[in-house]
Symmetry: C2
Subunit: 370 residues, 2 copies
Amino acid sequence: MPGTEGAGERAGAVLTVDLTAIVANYRLLCRRLGAVGCAAVVKADAYGLGVEPVAAALAEAGCRHFFVAQLDEALALRPRLPAAAIGVFNGLFPGEEGIYAENHLLPVLNDLGQVDLWAGFAAHHRRAMPAILHLDTGMSRLGLEPAEVTRLADDPARLDGIELRYVLGHLACADQPRHPMNTRQLAAFGAARAKLPPAPASFANSSGIFLGADYHFDLGRPGAALYGVAPQPEIPNPMAQVVNLKGKILQVRDVDRPMTVGYGATHRFTGAGRLATVAVGYADGYLRSLSDRAHAFLGDVRVPVVGRVSMDLITVDVTAAPPRAARPGRWVELLGSRHGVDALAAEAGTIGYEVLTALGRRYHRAYVKA
Amino acid sequence: MPGTEGAGERAGAVLTVDLTAIVANYRLLCRRLGAVGCAAVVKADAYGLGVEPVAAALAEAGCRHFFVAQLDEALALRPRLPAAAIGVFNGLFPGEEGIYAENHLLPVLNDLGQVDLWAGFAAHHRRAMPAILHLDTGMSRLGLEPAEVTRLADDPARLDGIELRYVLGHLACADQPRHPMNTRQLAAFGAARAKLPPAPASFANSSGIFLGADYHFDLGRPGAALYGVAPQPEIPNPMAQVVNLKGKILQVRDVDRPMTVGYGATHRFTGAGRLATVAVGYADGYLRSLSDRAHAFLGDVRVPVVGRVSMDLITVDVTAAPPRAARPGRWVELLGSRHGVDALAAEAGTIGYEVLTALGRRYHRAYVKA
């Protein structure tokens, strides 16, 4: 692309990802898990933050086990992490066996058909094939349901040739420590495991790690907490904030007459004030549900987003900020230590996870290491 | 990337963009505009659909004028469209003048500071520099406000050296034909133009084109309608649907006991039924606000999305579909002629524009031409 130099200055917004904070979060989770291993979930481009730099930083910090959702994500990651274990949540499909084997990827087997497929491949090649077996304990998305576990228990030879690295379970309500689903799923996981040949287990996602040692088993599997999302919304967030997003002020206007702002004319200025237009919009993943609800920071002053979020622009009421701070070319902080992913998510009516995965492609991205 | 062949089969979802439909929509808009020219707005990666193939198809269909939001978007587009006029909505900033000039890009001048900057550059280089002048008539985002227009009218020499290709206005409520903002903005645009040296004008976005000839001036500037979004929600959509999104079924489970589905256990099955897990989630831009609200098609059967949208997965109640249709490896249509972008947007509580710009990066993308 011509003129790539200076792209940071030209950019309408700059997203800074703090790799040191991700590593600090990984280490905090490792301490919580004690002697239990700690994998890293880096699916969806490391929750939108960029899988290559994120996975490299985690590997450098000692992480040896990674999870992605899709086979293509694993294939993109493998050359960057030649020695790591890489598990693929979405499972094994006919015709993919050789790709998994050649690239030393661990399929997560989600139903008996996938078990048979992998066992058949192992038998054909006369070697043990490693895999992870997913037991559904109440998500009803992926994994063997109880009746399938019983069928497998009745015919354990179906696992011949499969080296069970882990059995895996997934919590539905771990962010709510007192939700009855947690103990119910824990019991169901124990009951299902008891029917099957012994194997190490992985059960806890980010929030599950904070439910206590009963949930830890042999491998923690955090994702969101690595990236700064609060694992337990009811208590202060122990994770370091990872992302900072600043948007450039394109224009500032003094308001001295009644006027409306943006599409649908939803916001009306009645008194005097100042309005700044910032180069970020819903095409950048600054969700349209933030219209007339979000806040940002201009210097130390908290300023509200007014009017509808447009595709490429937002408008911010900067009346409360010093006039010298609100000038074209200056930056407004949209995400940062004072207004983190969970706070912005609450304004959007969603969760921090979606704020992260929505982060846009037009942002100039900077990765920092302390 | 290793193993790129077969990515379409391996993909969790396939997004098909019908370039012929985009061209048909362009031609329909041209007919509506009659003798008035028709530009194409291709900002935000052509509303998420891929600016390179989309712009190439439109250029081949005769489009000669394109608009983007950001300078970097224009720089990426210029090598693909060496002869087209490319306007940049977000304006001109100090230090960028040479980049605009070298790449023959048209800055949209949004305030008097930008006018002075461009006029200064023209004077320094002793040549006329082309530009578009944006007059704000009620969006309160970008553009000269009325007081600035008056100041410019009082000192028209500030435009010396600037070749005004167009003056530009932008409608706030054009999708609501009877909204009083439309005539108010039209009057304000006329009043502002009357104060300035004569120049061609561009006023109508997609919806504005359908407000009638009074709004057409010299250049229409559609974006959303090109991509199939209804320009006037109150009347049947005259635009062809452009996108088809299908997600792969990863797993199907029979429900024969009361059970909950997904995070937060928000959906509860009480009777018998069947549930399919599909490889699309909010990390793919299938917005989380679609949880428990969206619909899809399995064959000809309309099926509801149940439970929360996860990062990489949704669950669909396929009880009403024939069992042979709901099998792993089969496809569920999430966007298409029977359930278009506006219908999905209504389920998500947003507009079709955001459904398009959110379309994810993990989709296998196919571009078709009749």
